[in-house]
Symmetry: C3
Amino acid sequence: MTVYKKHVKVLSEEGKVSYADITEDVKKAIAESQIENGICVVVTPHTTCSVFFEEYAHDINAAGDEFLQEDLNTVLEKIIPDHVSAETYVYPGEKHYEAVESWPNADEYLPNGDRTALWNGDAHLKATLIGSSTVFEVDNNKLAVGSTGYVYFADFDRTRARERKCSIIVMG
Amino acid sequence: MTVYKKHVKVLSEEGKVSYADITEDVKKAIAESQIENGICVVVTPHTTCSVFFEEYAHDINAAGDEFLQEDLNTVLEKIIPDHVSAETYVYPGEKHYEAVESWPNADEYLPNGDRTALWNGDAHLKATLIGSSTVFEVDNNKLAVGSTGYVYFADFDRTRARERKCSIIVMG
Amino acid sequence: MTVYKKHVKVLSEEGKVSYADITEDVKKAIAESQIENGICVVVTPHTTCSVFFEEYAHDINAAGDEFLQEDLNTVLEKIIPDHVSAETYVYPGEKHYEAVESWPNADEYLPNGDRTALWNGDAHLKATLIGSSTVFEVDNNKLAVGSTGYVYFADFDRTRARERKCSIIVMG
């Protein structure tokens, strides 16, 4: 049995939840692995991101999102409102602000010392609900999903644009 | 290390969320695999279905659902209402309707050309929340769960009855 | 390829959702496995518990919970209220009460025959939403997450304090 790993990069936008269709990356990793039968695990190492399985919806809204992504945003916001004030969530908290401010790379998290840059509690909670990993079947060296099945990477953090990592691990 | 795979079929009903107890299928696949230690991955290839781990509740309601399933339906419907009109969700959308209408097997998705047959946005969103895969431990060639732990396959799509597939992959 | 397994014990409290940071256990299991590349699966065998990936928040509230855990409780309770009366959920149900009362270890579930000890429908539903398993990447014999990424075990069952089990399976 072998393990084949691939790390892909995903660019996220500021001011919105960012969804990326990574289906082709996953299919390519499976092909490269030459593994006939087993599993393909897709994982995010970031706590404000998720990986999930969903249909590709052909219509795109003004924000650039597929219609099912807009609907998912609407549904999640009903219980997880945007983190727009210090009162929306108890997170981050004074000690957390201070801890981040003490990091050598504090500037990356708190540009210009702006504490509101840490108001991404909504992203943490959405990522916990949707989950950080999804497992797929590999069958005859193919991703075993129907023709309408796609793999998405979501970055729920709206505070800033970033380059995110996603791990694809094929085993069998 | 070996990979043992089994594909099981699950029948769903029209007009309701369909839950199937697939615990015996999972236990049988593990026994057949002869794998002593490792994992058992249960996966749906359908974007409107989920696999989850839950207790078996002995009471059944008038719809034929276990009580915890009725409670799960109630909870999910609070944020994901039934897709009963074109206004419930932005999905499917005009391009999506047209794409499906162009498929060779369009009749399967749109019987008699009825576009309301695609009103399953609720099912897509519920499946994303609950997830498409669950991993279990295999210990001494057994499914390592307590006596009250069961494996369920859910088809959240209420638009029509179907035969669904579920993949069980044992590795170790 | 090898399989390395470790079972850890987690103590939960009565009267609240109990969260345990098991990151060190997971990192230790990976180190002990000596597996360079592959996956680490963390699984709960209990239907009222979950495993999830989240940031460590440095502030702790009066209940002893990290701030992101308090926020998660708040969010989940919006759709899954505490099971405080026979009307909150249809679960458990008469047959379920009777089934549990017939078990040889009924006393463990129903101390003094008190049926309200089974009012943990909220815990079952929360565990289904958050999920029973999470998969991580193992890279160079390390847990492949960023410096802010932690692994948590949640026991959503508030009815009594218990010793819970969690399985860590490293494969590669």
